[in-house]
Symmetry: C2
Subunit: 299 residues, 2 copies
């Protein structure tokens, strides 16, 4: 089969590359996401440009494009994507027309979960969750071997009420993501200390040095994550939970202490293994490639 | 096709009947569940007796049996059923041998959810939840048209931590079921008043009369239910949630006030419709019949 091209459109950058049968990403390319309007025209132009750059002499067998927000995979429509200011953009139809090949449209986190389940940390597991903990927190849920979509609304573990009184950007209160995302950990440490930290990795460094405020902020994040994941475990019973995103990169400060906290909250449940995600920030792109390969009829 | 026989084995009674193609239950029969041991022998004898009583001159095309607890539907094994004191009982293999016909084994709540989705309150909806609120609270989750099983562990919404400090029978604390099940509502009202109430329907009657303690206990239950259901909505995004069980019977005191509370907790989520379940305490039996019909190859 000729190649498939994968594109992961994020709020700040567009990652792309070629994905082979084994889910390996090559010829990686990264560009800034252009300023965008509700119709998505500038971003779709950029996606077409990226595909033209990566394609060989023949049209690709298929292209996979993943975006954040609420995505209706069946219809190929980005229903609502705050980061891109998109509403009801028919990504699949527009790109298929312009690229002259089949285009699979997916959700960045669910595509990442598909990638982790097929070729990453959850390989061979029928019930799994991929939970990137970055700017926000979401989950890709695989139940009985099938990725849960819920018409694009499934997996919003970041907005489970975990019992604090902080407001969340979504308009709610008590959301997991408002206390435990990599962004929240960074912001909360900076607020309490006045120190300039550039990301959760900086906070992690201070945890390792025994900085009391860093330890406190980190522990509060882990407590909240354990509570949110316990709800997830009760509802969809993953055997493996792969933690990704910025916080997942500080693996030894996350996996074991989080697993301990989670275990103490479970009673009759099946206790999942916690593992670091394997595909890093390429997960969405690999997933986009797998969706494209599926669409091109390889599986 | 010849008929299928459905059996719903509960902790106190065994319900059974014949289920037709349209999911209609007839020739209903109800018997006490006999005292049971870990191997389940006495209960399985009773199930065989019930099937012999209901069957016609020909062997049934299939029998469907549903039980509570952790059930591995694929293997036909009741992994762990507290109410029946069962552990790893190979229900399917034992009954198929004794009855001389195919036997489908299911979980009572998930089978009830299947029934509500195919022929009840969630008919025609691809993403739905059936939540019986009775002695305990559980959920049958249908995502993208498929019932979530998670090897028998999915759907435990009753043990989501909703942020109170009451202990739960499961050994945990803060569980939804400890404050919002029909049994919890009854118990909590009796504890606060010393009044003898025989069930949540009695408490509902007092809510209607304006009894302040009844209103308080009822409101606390609804607040907790809204919080648990909000987590469920975030993770699996049902379009419809059907409330069943003892509390569901007091529909007008539950559906509208619960929907209002749930709605106030949701932000960007898809807001589900709340409806009363339609099949009453026959849901599990109808579901058992549908599983049997599926097994007999009708669908």
């Amino acid at each position: 089969m000729s190649e498939v091209i994968a594109v992961d459109v994020g709020g700040t950058s567009i990652k792309s590359g070629v994905v082979d049968r084994a889910g390996r990403l090559s010829r990686e390319h990264r560009a800034e996401t252009p300023p965008t309007g509700a119709d998505g025209a500038a971003v779709l132009d950029a996606v077409v440009g990226v595909v033209e750059k990566l394609r060989g002499p023949h049209p690709p067998a298929a292209v996979g494009v993943v975006v954040p927000g609420v995505v209706d995979e069946n219809a190929g429509v980005a229903v609502m994507s705050e980061n891109l200011a998109w509403h009801d953009v028919p990504v699949g139809a527009v790109l298929a027309e312009r690229l002259g090949c089949p285009v699979a449209v997916g959700h960045d986190v669910r595509a990442g979960g598909l990638a982790e389940q097929r070729v990453g940390a959850c390989r061979g597991v029928a019930n799994a969750a991929f939970v990137p903990v970055g700017t926000g927190i979401a989950a890709a849920l695989v139940v009985d071997g099938v990725l849960c979509r819920g018409d694009g609304y499934a997996g919003e573990v970041g907005h489970i009420d975990v019992g604090h009184d902080l407001p969340c950007a979504c308009g709610g209160q008590g959301c997991l993501e408002a206390i435990a995302s990599a962004a929240a950990v960074t912001r909360r440490y900076a607020q309490r200390t006045g120190a300039g930290v550039s990301g959760s990795r900086d906070v992690a460094d201070r945890v390792r040095l025994g900085d009391a405020v860093a330890v406190e902020v980190w522990d509060e994040a882990l407590d909240a994550l354990a509570r949110g994941l316990a709800s997830l475990v009760g509802l969809v019973a993953p055997e493996v939970i792969a933690i990704g995103g910025g916080l997942g990169e500080s693996g030894e400060l996350v996996i074991e202490p989080l697993e301990r906290r989670l275990r103490s909250r479970l009673t009759f449940h099946r206790v999942p293994r916690l593992v670091p995600a394997q595909l890093g920030d390429g997960a969405g792109c690999v997933g986009a490639g797998l969706l494209a390969r599926d669409l091109a009829g390889e599986r």
